[in-house]
Structures are given as structure tokens and as C-alpha cells.
């Protein structure tokens, strides 16, 4: 299947009008040539603008996938508001996002539904869960992800298990502040900063972890990290926020604690580190749950049906 890539983000972020015009023209030409039955906007991002700007070159129903928090500004002078109001169907990646959307724009609720993320099956069996106290947290290093809370919790864990280590994967603007906090807490010697992880790097980091911490403080739309951990049979300690409660079932695939509560996070981590049978069970049950409820096949089947139904919608976008 040919893939055509366009610099939507780059063109708009650079405010380069020639690049915007060139990109619009190229998308329009592709659209006129393909005459698509359906346009799938896989994110509420800059690509939305180019879809709107090229509608005259080939009208088609629009399926919009929403896997980010519902924007607070959705007026008629916002691209997000117009895109959501005019989309033929909207697929939300969690019930939490779907509920937020219905609250913000009740008029689109009837055209929206939930399609959870799916991940392809793992290529190989995960190795046995390490018995050593190895913790892993990863994602964009931004304030919303709450990695500072994880560091504070880890300081408590380290006081009880002096051989504990926390691997921190990912990159982002909060990285310097997190390094400073680890120094201030006196735990920097036990924190391994992994930097940006490739797909293989994520698998390797998960395999080396006894458990995974997802300490988000914002309303996480879903929590893909928790799902990746479950597929590698690693139990998850996460916060009870947004769609994370769908990705992690408390007592089945991990333990949930309240956001911003470093003490509760530390207690849950210690509980799993000190109760290996429980941690093993949460890992195994989490994996089974992930494969059945969030498997690749289920996601593909749901989108296949949605494509068919959306393409058949009279009137299109």
C-alpha cells in the first residue's frame, strides 16, 4: 500500500506560507486522483486543516479518531470545534474521552463511539518477571505524566530496598527538572535515565522490569504504556485518572492509586515488590486481559466495520 507523507506539522509550525500552500496543493492532487470513499483523520492535529482545505478536490465522509483530551476551546472559531462538529463519525480511544466529548459537544454524541487501542501480538514470549526490585516508567517527559511523583515514591521504596532501581525512559522538556529532583532526593545513583526508546528498546526495558509505574496526573486519554506492560506480563501501578482505569483494571492487571499521592504510589509499589505471587498473577492476568480485550484483531475488526459504515454515510462530510 503506497504511503504519502506530508509535513503538516512542520509547515504550520514554521508559519511557512509557501510550505502550507505546497502541502495543500499536493494533498488536493492526491485526493483528486484517489477519489477516496472515506478520509480517516487519525488525530485531532494539524492534518485536520489540510483535510478541510482540500474538500473541494474530492468530498468524502470523514472519520476522526480522538485520542487526546477534548480541547477546552471548541467554538466556531476553532479548528478543533469545526472538525468535531463536521466529522461524519468520531472514534474515541476510551470511554473517558468519549464521556468528555459528549459533555463538551452533546450534539456529536450520537455520531461517536469507543474503539480502544489495540496492539499487535508480541513476537516472542516475555521472559520471567525479574525478582530484583527493578521499576520502569516511560513516556514523554512532561509535567502531565507525573514522573516527579514517581521519583518521590521511589525515594520511599529505595529506603526499604536499597538495591532497587528505577529506569526512566523517554525525553521531553521536564527531563532537566526530573534530574534535579532525583539529585535533591538523593536517589540519582539508583535512577537510570534511558532517553528516547525505540520499539525494541521499550520491549527490552519492559522485559528487565519487575513492574511498571504510570504516575500520570492529567486525565490520561488511555494509557498505552500500561497496555504495553500488560502484553509483556508486567504488573502496573498507575493513577486513577481518565482512560487509565480502562487500561488498568485494579486488582486484575495492576493497582490503582490517586493522582499526586506519592505515599500511596510507594505503598502499592512496595506491595507488589514484597508479594511476588500477587505481582506474577497481576502480570499474567493483565496479559490475558490485554490480549483478549485490547488485541490487534479486535481493533482492526472494529475499524473495518467503522470504515464500512462511515463510507456508506449519505452526504459525507
Amino acid at each position: 500500500m503506497p504511503v504519502h507523507r506530508f509535513p503538516f506539522h512542520q509547515a504550520l509550525a514554521s508559519r511557512d506560507l509557501e510550505a502550507i500552500a505546497t502541502t495543500t496543493r499536493r494533498v488536493g492532487e492526491l485526493r483528486a486522483r484517489l477519489r477516496p470513499d472515506l478520509v480517516h483523520l487519525n488525530t485531532l492535529g494539524p492534518g485536520v486543516l489540510f483535510e478541510r482545505a482540500t474538500r473541494a478536490r474530492g468530498a468524502a465522509p470523514v472519520l476522526l479518531t480522538l485520542h487526546s483530551p477534548v480541547p477546552s476551546e471548541l467554538g466556531p472559531d476553532t479548528l478543533a470545534g469545526r472538525a468535531l462538529r463536521s466529522a461524519t463519525r468520531i472514534a474515541c480511544n476510551s470511554h473517558a474521552v468519549h464521556a468528555d466529548l459528549a459533555r463538551a459537544l452533546p450534539e456529536v454524541a450520537a455520531r461517536s463511539l469507543v474503539v480502544h487501542y489495540g496492539l499487535p501480538p508480541m513476537g516472542r514470549e516475555p521472559p520471567p518477571r525479574p525478582r530484583a526490585p527493578r521499576l520502569l516508567a516511560y513516556g514523554r517527559l512532561v509535567d502531565e505524566k507525573g514522573f516527579d511523583v514517581a521519583l518521590r515514591a521511589f525515594a520511599t521504596v529505595l529506603a526499604r530496598h536499597s538495591d532497587a532501581r528505577l529506569a526512566l525512559g523517554g525525553d521531553g522538556p521536564a527531563r532537566p527538572a526530573l534530574a534535579r529532583l532525583a539529585d535533591e532526593l538523593g536517589i540519582a545513583h539508583a535512577v537510570d535515565v534511558l532517553g528516547l526508546l525505540s520499539a525494541d528498546g521499550v520491549s527490552a526495558a519492559l522485559d528487565a522490569a519487575a513492574l511498571v509505574v504510570v504516575p500520570s496526573r492529567w486525565d490520561e486519554p488511555f494509557g498505552l504504556v500500561a497496555l504495553e506492560a500488560a502484553l509483556r506480563a508486567r504488573p502496573v501501578v498507575a493513577t486513577r485518572v481518565g482512560g487509565l482505569v480502562e487500561a488498568v483494571e485494579d486488582g486484575v492487571s495492576g493497582l490503582l492509586v490517586e493522582r499526586e499521592d506519592a505515599d500511596a504510589l510507594a505503598a502499592a509499589i512496595l506491595r507488589l515488590l514484597e508479594d511476588a505471587p500477587l505481582a506474577d498473577r497481576l502480570g499474567a492476568d493483565g496479559r490475558a486481559r490485554a490480549e483478549t480485550r485490547f488485541g490487534w484483531d479486535a481493533c482492526v475488526t472494529a475499524y473495518e466495520r467503522l470504515y464500512t459504515a462511515t463510507a456508506a454515510t449519505e452526504g459525507g462530510a
Binding site: H9, Q10, L12, A13, R15, L17, E18, I20, A21, T24, R25, T43, L44, G45, P46, G47, V48, L49, A53, S68, P71, E73, G75, D77, T78, L79, A80, G81, R82, D171, L196, S198
Partner: protein, 141 residues
């Protein structure tokens, strides 16, 4: 109507603007607000930015689209008010000779100028940052 007398120009320190393929794109630099306008609106912008006053712009549009002069004048006045309110244009000294503007593309059916405004472009760019390592996807099955 006094605010509509005289000539106007975009301030290059405030906005970047261009008409490409008959479509006007304007981005306000201080907050990234994005504007788009096609058809008669883009033609009107081209004339205004070239230093023509409201009456001259209305006369040109009336001739180009075959509409009554008074209607063209009302529509252009509405548009100029909106462009001033959005700080996309500001009063400017009349140039010694306004730029000659000839339109080579067909005019199409007349529709009153309609400025599309997207004030959340900065938010959308932040929501969807480029995927790290996306270049590595090239060649994947």
C-alpha cells in the same frame, strides 16, 4: 465610516500573508491564529494590500463578479471592519501609485467574503507533536 476611509496595509511585523491559487492564508505572528479566505475575499485582500481604498476595491469586485456596486461596497466594508478588528490590516499611508492588480483566474460565482478563523492552531500543534523516529518507518512493510 471614517475608520474605513483611506488605505490599509498588513503590518509585516504582525502577520504573514499570501494569496496562493486564489486562496488567502494569513497567520498572526504573536499567537499563531490562522486565517483563510477564498473567492471574492481573497481578491479584496489582494487589492487592499496593494494600496487601493474601499471604493476602488468595491468597484473592481463589482465589475469582476457582475454585482451591484452598492452590494460590493457593503460587503467590502464589512470585511475591512473584520480585518481591522483582527489586526490583520491597519490604516496606512496611501502609496504613490496603488499596485496594479489583474486577476487571471476565472472569478466564479460571487459569494460575500467569509474569513475563516482558527484560533487554536497553537493548541493543535502542541497536541500532536511530530512522532520521534518517524523517519525510521520508511520501508516498513
Amino acid at each position: 465610516m471614517t475608520e474605513l476611509q483611506g488605505t490599509f496595509a498588513p503590518d509585516p511585523a504582525e502577520v504573514v500573508a499570501k494569496v496562493i491559487d486564489g486562496e488567502l492564508i494569513v497567520i498572526r505572528l504573536d499567537d499563531g491564529t490562522y486565517y483563510a479566505m477564498g473567492g471574492a475575499g481573497a481578491a479584496a485582500w489582494t487589492l487592499l494590500a496593494a494600496g487601493h481604498d474601499l471604493d476602488a476595491v468595491a468597484a473592481t469586485l463589482a465589475g469582476r463578479y457582475g454585482i451591484p456596486l452598492e452590494r460590493a461596497r457593503e460587503d467590502v466594508a464589512t470585511l475591512v471592519r473584520e480585518l481591522l478588528a483582527e489586526r490583520l490590516l491597519a490604516p496606512a499611508p496611501a502609496p504613490a501609485s496603488p499596485g496594479a492588480t489583474t486577476f487571471t483566474d476565472p472569478a466564479g460565482a460571487y459569494e460575500p467574503p467569509r474569513l475563516e478563523v482558527y484560533r487554536d492552531m497553537g493548541n493543535l500543534l502542541a497536541l500532536d507533536p511530530p512522532t520521534p523516529g518517524i523517519d525510521d518507518l520508511t520501508g516498513r512493510p
